[in-house]
């Protein structure tokens, strides 16, 4: 199968945090009282890495590594180096491999940046989130707005051209005007990439509880829509192209390779608590998705006794794979190319799969474009379409597949 030869991405989940943000729905654990047992977590990650990458040793190449969390900038740089080295030893890194580390804007971690670079990290993503001190405090964060920007400046010194950071809009009490000001200020410090998210109330988070109990009142839907639209406009004015729902880049080179891997439906392997993987099993060619145990303690025990912390592994059917390809592909402005779709559809074309009546209607309404390029046909959302893409997906993705 074609896909089995494509490059693979590696995700490493480092679970600990010194503080827990109210809106975060990722698997995380507060730093234990007696401190983090760095050796233990690193050894567990290395063992799981070994178990996971070994079957893929032959014809594969690592296109990217992403250290997410949790707060991976709390890790010791030498441990990060060991993980990168072992990954490379198992499946060789591509020459231009992107190796990203998520970092907190707190001073102690910023000061470790050069060491991380020496460990092999070549891209840095900083969790700035907002510049508003009151909002930061209310979300449980320990840094101030000014620290966030200082961290970005510092990171740019260490990783020139390869720094990104997150901004979130839609916090309680935020007005459109304040958001515009915040974003303008942030963009003055930006490197060549920025992510802009709407605050999402994820079930099970403290924010979700506060929201249900009406302890926090988030901006009205219409205001949030304006915030999104203004973000697109302001980023464009600063030379950042909106290439994915929440991602903006100065040029194509600056786009996140790792994330593009997800959106293009390429294979990725995840290690660490709660990490997800999606790959073609080299033993039988079967498409598989798997997830690791989310609880850090239990994941550690499992890695130590069995060599991995897999919670479940499920084979992915043809229909699901095709649905996913469209769902992910339409998150990007470039859309999904027919030839890429054929990789997961067994050679069947995208227009045979989709509800083309709806596609044509939506194209007439200016939400989609369906074009014949020189190499391949391509379905892409317009800027307006991207904004309502969830409604579009429900309309155009079929429940069943005509040829299955």
């Amino acid at each position: 199968m074609l896909l089995s030869k494509t490059p693979v991405s590696l995700y490493v989940h480092w679970p600990y945090c010194t503080f827990l943000c109210k809106f975060c729905a990722f698997a995380k654990a507060r730093v234990p009282k007696h401190g983090i047992d760095h050796d233990r977590i690193t050894n567990a990650l290395l063992r799981e890495l070994q178990t996971t990458l070994t079957p893929h040793r032959r014809d594969k190449q690592l296109r990217s590594i992403y250290f997410g969390g949790g707060t991976p900038s709390l890790a010791r740089p030498k441990d990060i180096a060991r993980i990168i080295e072992q990954a490379h030893a198992l499946v060789p890194l591509a020459l231009d491999a992107e190796i990203t580390l998520e970092s907190n804007p707190t001073l102690a971690e910023v000061s470790k940046m050069r060491e991380f670079r020496a460990a092999g990290i070549n891209r840095c993503s900083i969790g700035v989130q907002t510049l508003d001190d009151a909002t930061l405090a209310s979300m449980g964060r320990l840094h101030r707005g000014i620290d966030g920007l200082a961290a970005v400046d510092r990171a740019r010194d260490v990783f020139p051209g390869r720094v990104t950071f997150d901004m979130i809009f839609g916090f309680a009490g935020q007005t459109l005007q304040r958001w515009e000001n915040e974003l303008e200020t942030a963009l003055d410090h930006a490197d060549r990439h920025i992510s802009v998210y709407q605050l999402t109330v994820e079930p099970g988070t403290p924010l979700s509880r506060d929201h249900l109990l009406r302890r926090v009142v988030l901006p009205e839907d219409d205001v949030q829509t304006q915030m999104y639209e203004r973000a697109v406009e302001i980023c464009a004015l600063h030379g950042f192209r909106h290439y994915e729902v929440s991602s903006y880049a100065a040029d194509a080179d600056a786009e996140s390779k790792h994330n593009r891997g997800y959106w293009l439906g390429q294979q990725y392997l995840g290690v660490g608590p709660s990490a997800h993987s999606r790959f073609v099993d080299p033993a039988n060619g079967q498409r598989v998705r798997s997830v690791r145990i989310p609880d850090t303690k239990r994941w550690l025990q499992s890695c130590e006794s069995m060599g991995h912390g897999t919670a479940s592994e499920t084979s992915v059917g043809g229909l699901e794979a095709m649905q996913e390809a469209v769902v992910l592909g339409l998150r990007m402005a470039e859309g999904i190319e027919d030839r890429r779709f054929r990789d997961v559809s067994g050679g069947r074309s995208l227009d045979r799969f989709l509800c083309m009546d709806r596609v044509r209607q939506l194209a007439e309404q200016g939400y989609l474009t369906w074009s014949q390029g020189p190499d391949s046909a391509c379905l892409a959302p317009t800027e307006r379409g991207l904004q309502v893409v969830d409604s579009i997906l429900v309309d155009i993705i079929p429940d069943h597949c005509k040829w299955e």
Partner: protein, 656 residues
């Protein structure tokens, strides 16, 4: 002849244990403190049948109890049954005759239940037949037929609440049937009781002297021992002769899974026994009698039933639709003059019933069939709606009847249904003299037909009685006027209570008139009505359009004067429930081709998941699948997707 579940009856018949179990109950009864009043039922023969031929008409009293909801009718019935040993006095007898869950919940009797008691009075044995009557106006025809089986009735009035609209309506029904009315005040031992005042109301409303009124408390048993003696003394024995040919009034029926239809009849002349062949005057159909007996309180077979008695007959009748309440039966080859007052059931309220999930059509079909087995007064027609798919148009006797039906569908059959807002049977009189009944808005003529071929449109009216404390007079008058009512008169039945009589269009009372009446009077007003014929009325069909396309299930026929208010209200409520879509949705209501209201649901501007977490797209896919499932339940009108809630909100909420 509506709804009744009779699981016990079937068991009794199958195992022939009815007589045994009732004698066991009698035995327990005989040991109770009420022994004095209890008379052993006659012995049973080898077949388990008891012989009641020794009870001629002069030893029989057929009576009923008429009362407003909650005035204690069922409790009094329980006490009388305990008193005569028909049921044991266990303290568990809570409204034995109200068998349906909805009856006990709502404190109403949907279905009449009857019971026979044996009672000794001044040295003589009496067979006392308590004929229960449905307690609601929807069933007034059934009430009148049940009353036609009686010679006397207890008028039971709550001493604290005084007489209510239903008391008035039922009194006049009983009076119209020529029944002896025996007034009683119930709950006289309650601290809030005002027996003098209630007695004064009875005197002024019904011209009954207050010193003839019995004071009782059915709950505690106070004065209950005087009830049956009063009934015996005041109620005339049934007329008729055992020598005349058999003649019986069918006044109640129910369906039994094992034996088919069971008929309750009052024997007006002659006698009947197992093996006789009887004929329905209405249909001419012949039946062979398989079993006769009395309700004691379950079916208890007897050797025969004779003049003056009231009992059940099993006669191989297969379908409840063959049994018409009010029908007269006679013996084959001995025809008799039918009893007066027979009217076939007619539907006064119609509503569309649709499965919420189209996949449940077949199971719902089965449930409706089962329910109508026991309720032939529900008329059933298949109906197809572009918006709601396949369903039925059901006709009911009234809104309570409809509610009860819906509740039984939901509770007993676990059905998930959508019921369109009720409509009344309008009439269209064409210029060529023909008359058409409108059962559904789809039947209403279009604008051109209306102009060229219709002479007049008519709607059914009711004459209503409303009773309330005088301080609500203003708002009650206003309520009637805003519902297009014509006030006839209002009279004071005592110093503080007013009785208001008015004519109201039936369409005005089928939705939420009763709820408004209750809320505006803080629950103090009571209301009852009877049909009063058709009147010419300027009717129009209001349509609801979504982006120019009519939604058939939301169309309604109404008086011209209501169109603007109703149209605006519906458009506004639709706007609240229709979700934004990828285009503007224009909601319009129109009548006679003219738009009366317009609202816009602006197109959706943003719907996108901000982030797919760390490669976890399973969540996103689950969301997508949930949305797709939700979409399947949407009804599509052109391009517009309408959620179920849109229909529910229009159909269930009242106009504000």
């Amino acid at each position: 002849m509506y709804m009744r579940l009779r699981p016990l009856a079937a068991t009794n018949l199958l195992f022939n244990s009815g007589a045994k179990s009732s004698s066991k109950q009698l035995f327990r009864g005989a040991n109770s403190s009420r022994r004095l009043y209890v008379t052993r039922a006659p012995e049973n023969n080898k077949r388990g049948e008891i012989d009641i031929s020794s009870y001629p008409p002069e030893r029989i009293r057929n009576f009923s109890i008429i009362a407003h909801i909650d005035h204690g009718k069922s409790t009094l019935a329980d006490r009388l049954l305990e008193h005569t040993g028909v049921i044991t006095k266990s303290g568990k007898n809570k409204q034995v005759l109200d068998k349906l869950k909805v009856e006990r919940e709502r404190g109403i009797t949907v279905k009449a239940q009857s019971a026979s008691m044996f009672y000794e009075h001044k040295g003589d044995q009496y067979l006392m037949n308590l004929i229960d009557t449905p307690g609601h106006v929807d069933f007034s025809y059934e009430v009148s037929r049940s009353l036609a089986a009686c010679q006397g009735t207890i008028l039971l009035v709550d001493a604290a609440q005084g007489i209510q609209a239903q008391t008035v309506a039922n009194f006049y029904l009983a009076f119209g049937e020529g029944l002896e009315v025996i007034p009683m005040l119930n709950k006289v031992d309650l601290p809030t009781a005002e027996p003098e005042r209630a007695a004064q109301q009875i005197e002024s409303a019904f011209e009954i002297e207050s010193d003839k009124i019995l004071h009782i408390s059915a709950k505690t048993g106070l004065g209950v021992d005087q009830v049956l003696p009063a009934v015996i003394e005041k109620t005339p024995p049934p007329l008729g002769s055992v020598d005349k040919p058999f003649k019986a009034l069918l006044f109640d029926t129910w369906y039994d899974t094992y034996v088919g239809v069971v008929c309750l009849m009052a024997i007006k002349d002659g006698s009947i026994k197992r093996g006789d062949r009887i004929v329905s005057s209405h249909s001419g159909t012949k039946y062979e009698v398989a079993e006769v007996g009395i309700m004691h309180p379950e079916q208890t077979p007897t050797t025969l039933l004779q003049v003056g008695q009231v009992g059940y007959i099993v006669c191989n009748m297969k379908s409840i639709a063959e049994a018409h309440v009010g029908d007269t039966f006679y013996k084959d080859r001995h025809p008799v003059e039918p009893l007066p007052g027979f009217v076939p059931a007619k539907s006064m309220v119609f509503a569309g019933v649709f499965p919420i999930d189209a996949g449940e059509f077949d199971s719902l079909n089965e449930s409706i069939q089962k329910l109508t087995l026991n309720d032939s007064s529900v008329s059933v027609h298949k109906e197809t709606s572009a918006a709601l798919g396949q369903g039925w148009r059901l006709g009911f006797l009234g809104t309570l009847h409809m509610d009860v039906f819906r509740q039984r569908l939901e509770e007993e059959y676990d059905a998930n249904v959508l019921i369109t807002s009720p409509t009344v049977p309008y009439q269209i009189k064409f210029t060529d003299g023909t008359i058409k009944f409108i059962q559904t808005p789809a039947d209403f003529p279009d604008t051109h037909t209306l102009q060229d071929f219709v002479e007049s449109t008519m709607e059914p009216y009711v004459s209503a009685t409303i009773l309330f404390p005088e301080k609500y007079l203003g708002c009650m008058l206003e309520l009637c006027t805003t519902h297009r009512g014509e006030i006839h008169n209002h009279t004071y039945i005592d110093e503080t209570r007013v009785m208001l009589k008015c004519e109201l269009p039936m369409a005005e009372i089928v939705t939420d008139f009763y709820d408004k009446l209750k809320s505006k009077s803080q629950g103090f007003a009571s209301f009852d009505y009877e049909e009063s014929g058709y009147k010419t009325s300027d009717l129009v069909k209001m349509e609801v359009l979504l982006n120019g396309e009519a939604v058939d299930a939301l169309a309604a026929v109404m008086h011209k004067s209501m169109v603007v208010t109703a149209g605006r209200d519906i458009a506004k409520r639709l706007k609240e429930v229709i979700r934004r879509q990828l285009f503007d949705i224009i909601i319009q209501t129109s009548a006679n081709g003219k738009i009366v209201a317009r609202e816009t649901v602006k197109q959706l501007r943003k719907n996108v998941t901000a982030k797919c977490y760390g490669g976890d797209i399973t969540r996103k896919m689950k969301l997508l699948n949930r949305q797709k499932e939700g979409k399947k339940r949407m009804k599509k009108i052109g391009k517009v997707e309408l959620p179920q809630e849109a229909f529910l909100s229009i159909m269930t909420k009242s106009q504000s």
